[in-house]
């Protein structure tokens, strides 16, 4: 069903054609805003961004700067499976895999770069990760930089845990848990 909006294009009446009353009406609106904001600047919706930040609304909290989670022994949870790199629509993730010398089961990322200049903050990498290794829950919003190179996050920038982590309990990584158990760690 196509909806039709009828526009009332009636010709202007005499008062409107001499403009002045309508100009006064328009000025009344803008002047009201001017004086209300002049005497009550706190009422304006502006947020002075870097100094003052609003709490992010629900879903937006899971779309902040990336991080790579760590295990209890400070090795990355990531197994370099390339799922996130494949899922990324902006091609901003670059992974180079390497092997542990004493573990034939899984790999680790020797290089894990995220180019924030290209990232669209879609969260597809988090969705794609089978190991729950990448997360976007740091609540940091990537801002502008003077230099393009500084927007490139390397593995060292990404690897970190939030307070309270790591917890082996409930970790989705069965292989990792077995590996840790065989090494005698907890």
């Amino acid at each position: 069903m196509i909806s039709v909006k009828k526009v009332d294009n009636r010709p202007l009446n005499w008062l409107e054609r001499i403009y002045l009353p309508e100009i006064a009406r328009g000025l009344a609106v803008t002047l009201r805003h001017f004086f209300v904001n002049l005497f009550n600047p706190k009422g304006m919706p502006t947020v002075q961004y870097p100094e003052q930040q609003l709490e992010l609304p629900h879903a937006a909290k899971t779309r902040t700067r990336h991080r790579l989670k760590l295990r209890a022994d400070n090795s990355p949870k990531c197994v370099a499976c390339f799922m996130c790199q494949t899922a990324c629509p902006a091609y901003c993730i670059r992974i180079e895999a390497a092997e542990y010398p004493d573990n034939a089961v899984e790999k680790y990322p020797a290089v894990f770069d995220i180019d924030l200049a290209r990232c669209v903050m879609c969260g597809m990498c988090v969705e794609a990760c089978p190991e729950d290794a990448i997360a976007m829950d740091t609540l940091e919003i990537p801002g502008g930089e003077q230099d393009r190179a500084r927007l490139k996050l390397t593995k060292e920038d990404l690897l970190r845990n939030l307070p309270g982590e790591p917890s082996v309990v409930g970790a989705a990584n069965r292989l990792a848990n077995e590996y840790l158990k065989s090494k005698g760690g907890a």
């Binding site: 328009g26 803008t30 805003h33």
Partner: protein, 372 residues
């Protein structure tokens, strides 16, 4: 040499005083212009529920954006000064001067106060009391068209030329209305010297109403304001430049050359405000304030020092100027833009007949009252 000084001492004193007044008044105007560029952004921001520029800071002191004019100036100087390859270099360089200089020269005839006695020397608070000041105003503001047209033409860019043609058509058309609205005032005050016009507005009508120009000619004031805004090329008459959409006459200009065009626009705002207050709102006159002090209509008198009176008068003139500048900013950010045919129709079909009618009615009333 000393004989020369002795023989021409009053002339030298006059020249020195004039140079001093020029220096002080023009510097005041320039400073106010710089603040006006900030005020434009702040006023528009407040009208649109925004805060406006407030980040430029000196030693960590932002003062809610007070240093933005300085930052703008530095930015403009640092930008590349680009001249198109095919441009007429000389005229391309001259055009910004043609836009700025006539406007600045106009401040010489505007009285910003009555007079001050300094060591027994009577210092008129006006740079040049030209007997035909009002005509000088019209003539010099007509010269500003050269800035627009040369700027558009010498860039050798068809879009700039189109903007310049529009600008010339608009400015010449509204020049006519601007001149005709002032004829009524000329008839009433019988003088074209702006200082005489302001002095005449110090009288009282019916014993209580200040005889300001707007009381005699309220209709001419509205026409004057409309024509002056159009002359200034600002919204709702800004389709000469139309910063956001239409391509204007200074599109090939960059750096300080562009800034000169922009600056002249803001200087013109001040000029219009000063002219509006001088011609229609009593200039430096404060109601019921005379040379000796306040004399209220009831007969009560309050004697004031001569310097205090002069200060009050200059303050009143500044306050009126600031008010009209603010009003022009508010108008600019309230109204949408005219179409070009509407612009021309408004000028030739409405304002011009109304201005002529105003002259006719003024003449008829003066004849009926026997004031001719």
């Amino acid at each position: 040499m000393t004989e020369f000084y002795a023989a021409n001492s009053d002339l030298i004193l006059f020249a020195g005083a004039a140079a001093f007044k020029t220096l002080v008044f023009l510097n005041g105007v320039m400073g106010f212009t710089a603040l006006l560029t900030l005020a434009e952004r702040k006023v528009s921001a407040l009208m649109q529920d925004r805060i406006g520029p407030n980040r430029a800071s000196l030693f960590g002191l932002a003062l809610n954006g007070l240093f933005h004019p300085v930052a703008d100036g530095i930015k403009m100087v640092m930008k590349e000064d680009f001249v198109p390859g095919r441009a007429e270099k000389l005229l391309f360089t001259l055009a910004p001067f043609f836009a700025l200089v006539p406007v600045l020269a106009l401040f010489s005839v505007i009285p910003f106060g009555d007079y001050v006695m300094v060591f027994g020397y009577q210092l008129d608070l006006q740079i040049a009391d030209v007997p035909l000041g009002l005509f000088l105003v019209l003539a010099l503001s007509g010269l500003a068209i050269y800035g627009v047209f040369l700027g558009g033409w010498s860039a050798k860019n068809n879009f700039a030329l189109l903007g310049a043609l529009r600008g010339a058509a608009q400015m010449i058309s509204y020049e006519v209305v601007l001149g005709l609205t002032l004829v009524g005032l000329l008839m009433i005050f019988g003088s074209a010297s702006l200082q005489d016009i302001v002095r005449a507005q110090g009288r009282l009508l019916f014993g209580w109403l200040p005889a300001w120009g707007v009381v005699y000619q309220p209709f001419a004031f509205i026409l004057f304001l409309v024509a002056a805004v159009a002359e200034n090329k600002r919204t709702p008459f800004d389709l000469v430049e139309g910063e956001s959409e239409i391509i204007g006459y200074f599109m090939e200009y960059s750096s300080m050359r562009f800034a000169a065009f922009m600056f002249s626009e803001f200087v013109e705002i001040i000029l219009i405000s000063m002219l509006a207050s001088t011609l229609f709102f009593g200039g430096w006159q404060v109601p019921y304030l005379y040379e000796s002090g306040f004399i209220l209509p009831g007969g009560k008198a309050l004697a004031l020092n001569h310097y205090l009176v002069a200060l009050l008068q200059v303050g009143a003139f500044s306050a009126k100027t600031v008010f009209f500048s603010w009003f022009l900013l508010v108008v600019r950010w309230t109204l949408p833009r005219f179409r070009f045919d509407q612009l021309m129709g408004l000028c030739w079909k409405r304002l011009l007949p109304l201005a002529l009618l105003n002259i006719l009615v003024t003449g008829a009333v003066m004849l009926a009252l026997g004031k001719v």
